[in-house]
Symmetry: C2
């Protein structure tokens, strides 16, 4: 979905997916994670890396290893599903890695939906889960529409606001497309992620309009001066802020977990205190509404119409996910680009945990 | 949610809600609607008018009377609920007025959710339903989170696109707020509605940036030249277009109804052919996830924090719905402003259908 090239593409060497996967699982295991945790976290990061969402890709590995080592994330959690009523459940994830909690929650939601048309699980005591789309895609692979919400530590001001109030609070929805790769919307409710500001800063380039603000809430084009993100929509940022609020209600209020403004910073000093993050996943089975073939045909017809829609000069039109799945196909062939900073961090991990560094294939 | 003053406020006379309600029900009944249809359509329009969403308010009455009279909308429909699986249903609304279909569908979704935690109804053979928030609010009044999606005839280009592809495809979500008026997000997935362009044109004012485009898809500030809307987000319009697609999938694909690009224009010549519009409503019961008191306390805490968040100079911060509920309280006291053009149309209706025009109280 990003309109700019992946951040880490410059001066990167490429490492094969399976080598990165093995490295990540070994590191996380050595940091104290059980196999379920290490596998889930790795799978989620590689979803991000495959699709070109490098901000939520394998570069998170050193952070996750530190969180598990420090105790913020419980590498050997007990996951308790709690069924109060009907087709919904809560999952007390016991400070599990967010990816483990979210994959297990979505698996449960899919099971419930298989027999009931819909299922939802509200996750309690989770943690950073990486790319929200990873879990929505699970539902789509099972023939269902998947929805994932998660709030996160505050970076985004309100419309008219002058403090970090909401997290980038992503909305991810995936739907079977009638072909191999799902329709996949995975979007922050800010225009850009916070690390993109730091990228503009290091490149010395002006920010796009209306994406980031000074401490007094005024928007700025100067990345070095920007301290918070603006909600999606610019002048109509009340819509982006409203969507962030929607995510906040499902992720924090419905779970009894922390509001974005209360969540310990992701990159903080304290790596031992759990963050009490909530999240919400839902699966909806189209077969409960109409013949599955009719749904698939409808998706194909819609996407055909979309992809053949006239474009403005020099532009293309894409369905959500089109760019990402094409990137995934390329990276499956060529490997995952690892930027120099991440490579250094990985070499440190390799040494610290006694795990061999997966040598790549040089710059792509 | 609108950042500008209500359109119809200028040179308006005010008419009391109950007088407008009686007038509307009489006109629609005389046009051929049964009481259920006339009441539902009136109630939905007055939701819009009370909350200051005049584009989806009582000004739609002449249009609805014409649609019922012409046969596009069946004023005496048979509504068939069809239960394929579990907690979801489809409603074949038999070309009913969209408001009747949506109120009945949400009522059913709430009933299902009461016993199962969640319920959803996909509406088939509906029609224009007015303000999407009206139905989401029903769930919130019942203590639940309500969600409403509806696609509509195409006005909004894709990101990079050069034709009207999606409708303004609203997303409405309401949640109990712990006080009288629900948290209420009711937003088009374009930045502005199409009739706001015509307003800028008649005022001779430049459009905001990145909200509307020429026939070749290039954005324009000239309202007279604008022929389509841009998706929410400006440079990041892939997010607005993705959200419109989400609405399209739930409203059109999941129901087997028409895509936005296939729906007969709302204001077209043909007022006798049904429009085969779909919509989707869902109710989610917080009590299925946690103690209802805990949910209410959480909402109060979140909203208190939001409303007391620091603001940029000269700005305010509002929760979704705050502006609208304040406007509703004012209009309950002062009446609904009826602009001169709508007043003329109402006087024509009064004459055509032999229903006395509800005289107002002069300009507010």
């Amino acid at each position: 979905m990003s309109s700019t090239a992946p951040v880490s593409e410059t001066e990167a060497q490429c490492i094969a997916l399976e080598d990165l996967s093995a490295f990540s699982i070994s590191v996380l295991s050595a940091a104290g994670a059980n196999l379920e945790t290490a596998s889930a976290a790795t799978r989620a990061m590689l979803h991000g890396s495959r699709l070109g969402i490098d901000s939520h890709g394998i570069r998170l590995l050193p952070h996750y290893a530190k969180a598990i080592r420090g105790g913020r994330v419980n590498g050997r959690p007990r996951l308790d599903f709690n069924y109060r009523a009907g087709v919904v459940a809560t999952l007390n994830a016991g400070d599990a890695h967010g990816a483990l909690a979210a994959y297990e929650a979505m698996k449960e939601a899919i099971s419930i939906a298989r027999f009931n048309g819909m299922g939802a699980v509200a996750i309690q005591r989770g943690s950073h889960f990486g790319p929200a789309g990873a879990y929505a895609v699970e539902a789509a692979r099972a023939g269902m529409i998947g929805v994932t919400f998660c709030n996160s530590d505050a970076f985004v001001r309100l419309h008219g606001g002058a403090e970090r109030f909401h997290g980038t609070n992503p909305i991810a929805v995936a739907a079977p497309s009638g072909s191999d790769d799902p329709w996949l919307l995975d979007m922050a409710t800010s225009s850009i992620p916070y690390n993109r500001i730091r990228l503009f800063e290091s490149l010395g380039q002006p920010l796009p309009r209306s994406v980031a603000s000074l401490a007094d809430g005024e928007d700025t084009l100067d990345a070095a001066q920007a301290v918070m993100l603006a909600p999606l929509g610019g002048e109509f940022g009340f819509k982006g802020a409203g969507l962030a609020g929607l995510v906040e209600i499902f992720s924090a209020v419905l779970t009894g977990m922390k509001l974005s403004s209360e969540i310990l910073p992701m990159e903080g000093e304290d790596m031992s205190t759990p963050r009490y993050m909530g999240a919400f996943v839902m699966a909806i089975d189209p077969a409960a509404f109409l013949d599955p073939a009719e749904f698939k045909n409808g998706m194909r017809r819609y996407l055909h119409s979309l992809r053949n829609s006239p474009t403005a000069a020099g532009e293309t039109v894409l369905a959500p996910g089109d760019r990402e799945w094409a990137e995934a196909a390329r990276r499956d062939r060529e490997g995952i680009p690892i930027d120099p900073k991440t490579e250094l961090a990985f070499r440190d991990l390799a040494e610290a945990y006694g795990v061999p560094f997966p040598e790549g294939t040089g710059t792509p």
